[in-house]
């Protein structure tokens, strides 16, 4: 496989599901989606339920067929058998038949990827240890918890030494330690040069590991860029979040804050009060400061809060709804 700049390229991708008699009922799951994922980056795909995230993943893997547009993975047509041998996939709601053990499951899925028995035996032990299943490789899977099953799913994906890893809700079912381990694994994969394409609802997790994210809403791509760029989107939104710590009588503080949108306030030790304001623009910040000083309220600290990904996400979606 020749070196390619992008691990995933999607151009004007569309998918319409048809249902009913002669397929008369049509539902557009994806509309003109265009994005790229660079080699070696960790890319997050976000969106509310029904946005089309899983549809996009399935098209990339060839599980369903696209209606329009094009997609490539690692320079090869997406969904083809040739590229699937270089892709590791961890599906959402993973189900492995209960008659398997860890060893037999890896044997099966490795064979499905055309790995020889020898190759599987060479690779599996370090992977089993990496995912935290050491010592449990001969237990029947039907006794596994959801988290352990998820680890096994990751192990079978890693077995093929993929160049591109597609993870659908990888931390689903994992405890906090498991999630931390998963994040560490993803980071390790990135260091090893593996491109990771992940789909997750847990925005905090995405924020911690992803270099770039894309946000889908009702089949349309609303945003595609770095996590930092989401902050810019936030700044372009209609409000500024400001944390102010003041010193003063509560009543006086309250009077001084009248006319401004107070989100929450909390009393701190030493008679300090922390207040979060939601303000429209810089001018309003200046007016707030002036008003506080007019009421002789001492300003201990003033901090412009950086919008979280969740906030940016919601902001983007909210914009989309209003549009």
């Amino acid at each position: 496989m020749s070196a390619v700049a992008n691990a995933v390229e999607v151009q004007q991708l569309g998918k319409t599901y048809r249902d009913g008699l002669f397929g008369r009922r049509a539902f557009k799951a994806l509309t003109n989606v265009t994005l790229t994922v660079s080699q070696g980056e960790v890319f997050g795909l976000l969106g509310p339920n029904g946005a089309g995230k899983t549809t996009l993943l399935k098209i990339l893997l060839g599980i369903i067929q696209k209606t329009s547009g094009s997609a490539t993975m690692l320079g090869l047509p997406a969904g083809g058998r040739a590229v699937r041998s270089h892709v590791g996939y961890l599906p959402e709601h993973l189900r492995i038949p209960g008659h398997h053990t860890v060893l037999s499951a890896l044997d099966l899925y490795g064979s499905l990827s055309n790995l020889s028995g020898r190759e599987i035996r060479l690779r599996r032990d370090p992977i089993i240890e990496m995912v935290g299943l050491k010592g449990r490789d001969k237990e029947p899977i039907k006794k596994f918890s959801k988290g352990m099953l998820q680890r096994l799913g990751l192990a079978q994906a890693l077995l093929v030494q993929p160049k591109l890893m597609i993870l659908d809700e990888p931390t689903d079912g994992l405890d906090p330690r498991g999630r931390a381990e998963m994040r560490a694994l993803i980071t390790k994969m990135k260091v090893d040069g593996v491109t990771v394409f992940l789909n997750s609802h847990i925005l905090q997790e995405v924020e911690l590991v992803c270099d770039r994210v894309a946000i889908l809403d009702r089949g349309h791509l609303k945003f595609c860029g770095s996590v930092k760029e989401t902050g810019q989107v936030m700044r372009q939104s209609t409000f500024i979040s400001l944390d102010v710590v003041v010193n003063g009588e509560p009543l006086a503080v309250k009077t001084a804050c009248s006319g401004f949108d107070v989100q929450q306030s909390a009393t701190l030790p030493d008679q300090q009060i922390e207040i979060n304001f939601r303000l429209g623009d810089q001018e309003e910040i200046d007016r707030l400061v002036d008003q506080l000083r007019q009421h002789h309220i001492s300003i201990v600290s003033l901090k412009r809060k950086q919008a979280s990904l969740e906030e940016a996400f919601l902001a983007i979606l909210g914009k989309s709804e209003s549009n």
């Binding site: 058998r81 996939y89 038949p97 008659h99 055309n114």
Partner: protein, 807 residues
């Protein structure tokens, strides 16, 4: 490349092992075999001679051997003598000289009886009164020594597996038990049974031998004798019974139930693959969707094949070891019934893909099973009825086309319709009419009862001679049907013995079953039907002129006589002897005869004879056919075109000299005097569906089943075709049911192929086999062929559906 798919198959096995299904299946199979295993036969076979038992008759036996050993017509006794030790031979010669003359025995020799054409069973036994008298008198030292030596020598002889030689025994008719043992095959007999055979052969040849005890088989279940089965039955009878019952149980119960269990066990294989999170992971791997589907299909089929192999192999071993019956049909059943399962499984796979439910898969597969059964049963009913109404003869007479079916009902083809020409119904009693109606739907005629119709050139009346040697209901034993000149009505006439009728310039010539030839004066035969129902007018003696011959020729069937008007000669076949009767001194006399070597020593085998132009052809029930020059009866050709299907019609064209032979499988072979060394498939359409044929002035008229009569010129081109449309039911059968049945799988009919493959009913290997007596499955490969096509279609549809499916 195949590694992923092998992994899927391996996973299927892993799943069945884990689910304990495999153990359950093996347990059930083991249970069946354990139930069957203790069932076995214990056979008592008396063969050995004791010196004490031989004492009264030893001298008689020795004398008989010595007297007959050098007779040219006693090859069997000569064989016994040559196998005795030389020192014993000297002693026996001395003893025979000293012995008194033996009491007279039955004068008829076995081979004389055979030459008379009768199946004679030779009496086994000695003059028992004589032996009793001698026993009472006491034996001398010499008698005792002679008996001891003879017992030893004969016991040694009986242990010799090479004693029997078919060539040596061909002039003897064996008793049924001995014949059964011979038919079983010498190499398959145990030592005891081979000795028993030799004992029976000795008794068959030497009348002085003491009678052996009857052999009998007792059925045991473990140590318990199943006394409700009579002890006097032979082993062969028990084995045949068990084989028949077992086949029925296997086919109807074990296999039906077994396949049902197999379908239930495998029904979840596809639906469980479609569970969320499972299928997506599989499809993300670099494998073909069809490969995934087919591997799952193959995994299920291999699992069932494994179970079936163990079951059938176990039954095969039990039948062989317990009953002595090594039936290869059981082994052939293994792959064929795996195919049966695979057909049903392909339906289950498709339904599993559509509905993703194991229960729906089982239910709809059951519906499919019922549909196959319904279509097969309905088709078989109509086919049986249609087969019995197949057109057996068709001809153009004075510009009109006439046809006759196997029940000799005459039709005229007018355009698209087949109009029956009435036989005078007042001639048939109600019972006969009812019997005929039943026979038309139920009977399976091995041979048509009527001789080829003739048209009297002078009166233009059609004559059909009937004989009914099989006693079929509704059909008279012997009669002559004669039409009016307009051929709008046939009247039936009683004739004591009318086997065949032939046209000649001087008037119709009738041949009786005894080979007597008479000329019928048609001018004395009226055209009005009988006035009273249930009666028939009679062909009286004044209407007939006897024309010889002066000797009786036992013909029995119309197919054994033919007439050549140009040569004015009759060819008649009685047994294996071909007679030619020529016109001399105002009557037909025997001109020449020849013994035809059909390869069989059976006397009653079905046979046919026909005249070509200057040749005579003969065909036997073992499918062997011979052609002779008519003048010198010199054989010019010998053929065996078919091995499992008997000839049903042999006709010669008196104009061109061509001879056609039609077999029961609907294939017509043609011999041409211009290339006498070869017999070829006739260049006519729809070989395999031909039900009758006849020659007419160099052209050949072919009947195809019930729907077509075609006239074909010698170069193979069509002259004319008549295809009557038939009624609604017939058209529904022809255009709807039969095509559907042909295309539909026939999982319930694989027994036909099992029978065909395992059958020893192949005339190449057994010249004594009359194929007319053997059930013939038309196109036994049809169930396998249609089953494989259907399975491929189902898998193909499943593939197309699965490849386009958005999962």
């Amino acid at each position: 490349m195949f590694r992923p798919y092998l992994a899927i198959i391996k996973d299927a096995f892993r799943a069945t092992i884990a689910s304990k299904v495999l153990y359950v299946m093996f347990g059930l199979i083991a249970l069946v075999l354990l139930v069957l295993a203790p069932l076995h036969l214990r056979e008592t076979l008396d063969w050995e001679l004791s010196s004490f038992g031989l004492q009264p008759v030893a001298t008689d036996i020795v004398r008989e051997i010595v007297e007959k050993k050098d007779l040219p017509r006693q090859p069997v006794v000569a064989r016994i003598w040559e196998r005795l030790p030389s020192d014993s031979q000297e002693i026996y010669l001395e003893a025979a000289k000293k012995a008194k003359p033996a009491p007279s025995t039955d004068a008829s020799e076995p081979d004389e009886a055979a030459e008379a054409g009768k199946a004679v069973e030779i009496e086994i036994g000695s003059s028992s009164a004589e032996s009793g008298r001698r026993r009472g008198q006491g034996s001398s030292r010499e008698d005792i020594d002679l008996a001891r030596r003879l017992a030893d020598d004969l016991n040694t002889l009986m242990k010799d597996r090479q004693f029997y030689d078919a060539e040596v025994w061909k002039t003897q008719v064996l008793r049924s038990e001995a014949q059964e043992l011979v038919d079983e095959g010498l190499d398959k007999l145990t030592d005891v049974r081979a000795a028993r055979l030799n004992r029976l052969l000795l008794n068959n040849s030497l009348k002085s031998m003491p009678i052996p005890g009857k052999s009998s088989a007792k059925v045991y279940y473990a140590i318990w004798h199943m006394s409700f089965i009579p002890a006097e039955v032979t082993r062969f009878q028990v084995v045949s019974f068990v084989n028949g019952v077992l086949r029925l149980i296997l086919d109807k119960f074990v296999l039906s139930l077994g396949i049902l269990i197999a379908i239930i066990v495998t029904a979840n294989m596809i639906p469980e693959t479609f569970e969320a999170g499972s299928l997506n992971l599989l499809l993300s791997k670099p494998i073909h969707r069809f490969g995934l589907l087919f591997s799952k299909f193959l995994g299920g089929t291999i699992f069932v094949a494994m179970c079936g192999t163990i079951l059938f192999l176990g039954i095969y071993l039990w039948m062989g070891l317990g009953l002595g019956l090594w039936d290869r049909a059981t082994l052939f059943s293994i792959p064929l019934y795996v195919v049966v399962f695979a057909i049903y499984f392909s339906v289950s796979v498709f339904v599993g893909l559509l509905y993703r439910s194991a229960i729906v898969s089982v239910v709809l597969t059951g519906v499919f099973w019922a549909a196959c059964f319904a279509i097969g049963t309905t088709n078989n009913f109509f086919a049986s009825s249609a087969e019995n109404q197949q057109l057996a003869w068709g001809r153009e007479i004075d510009g009109e086309v006439f046809a006759i079916n196997k029940f000799a009902e005459v039709y005229q083809i007018k355009g698209q319709t087949l109009e029956p020409i009435p036989r005078s119904n007042s001639n048939m009693s109600p019972d006969e009419q009812m019997g005929l109606a039943i026979a038309k739907n139920m009977a399976n005629l091995p041979a048509s009862p009527f001789c080829e119709p003739i048209v009297d050139p002078a009166s233009k009346r059609v004559l059909i001679a009937f004989s009914n040697p099989l006693g079929l209901p509704g059909i008279p034993k012997s009669q002559l049907s004669i039409s009016n000149p307009g051929k709008t009505l046939f009247n039936d006439y009683v004739l004591y013995d009318s086997l065949a009728v032939f046209a000649s310039e001087t008037g119709p010539l009738l041949v009786s079953s005894g080979g007597r030839i008479s000329r019928l004066d048609l001018s004395k035969v009226g055209t009005a039907p009988a006035a009273t129902a249930g009666t028939r007018p009679t062909i009286s003696d004044d209407m007939l002129t006897p024309l010889g011959p002066d000797r009786r020729i036992d013909l029995r069937e119309a197919s054994r006589v033919d007439y050549n008007p140009t040569r004015n000669e009759f060819a008649m076949l009685a047994g294996n002897t071909l007679y030619v009767m020529a016109w001399r001194d105002q009557e037909y006399r025997l001109a020449r005869e020849i013994e035809v070597d059909s390869g069989s020593d059976r006397r009653g085998m079905s046979s046919h004879v026909t005249f070509g132009q200057d040749h005579i052809a003969v065909a036997f029930g073992n499918a062997r056919a011979f052609v002779f020059e008519a003048d010198a009866l010199k054989q010019v050709a010998a053929f065996q075109p078919e091995f499992r299907s008997p000839p049903i019609s042999l006709r010669g064209d008196k104009t061109s000299g061509r001879i056609g032979i039609l077999h029961r499988n609907g294939r017509l072979w043609m011999w041409d005097p211009t290339s006498p060394e070869s017999l070829k498939l006739a260049s006519v359409p729809r070989q395999g569906a031909i039900s009758g044929f006849t020659f007419d002035n160099g052209q050949i008229t072919i009947c195809h089943n019930i729907d077509r009569i075609s006239k074909i010129s010698p170069n193979g081109s069509f002259e004319s075709t008549h295809a009557p449309s038939g009624g609604f039911l017939l058209n529904a059968y022809r255009y709807v049911l039969r095509p559907v049945y042909s295309a539909f799988p026939k999982p319930g009919e694989f027994y036909r192929l099992v029978d065909y493959l395992s059958s020893t009913r192949d005339a190449r290997y057994d010249a004594n086999m009359d194929l007319r007596e053997v059930d013939e499955h038309k196109d036994p490969w049809s169930p396998l062929r249609s089953g494989l096509y259907f399975m491929a279609l189902m898998l193909g549809i499943s593939w197309i559906y699965f490849s386009r499916l958005d999962c």
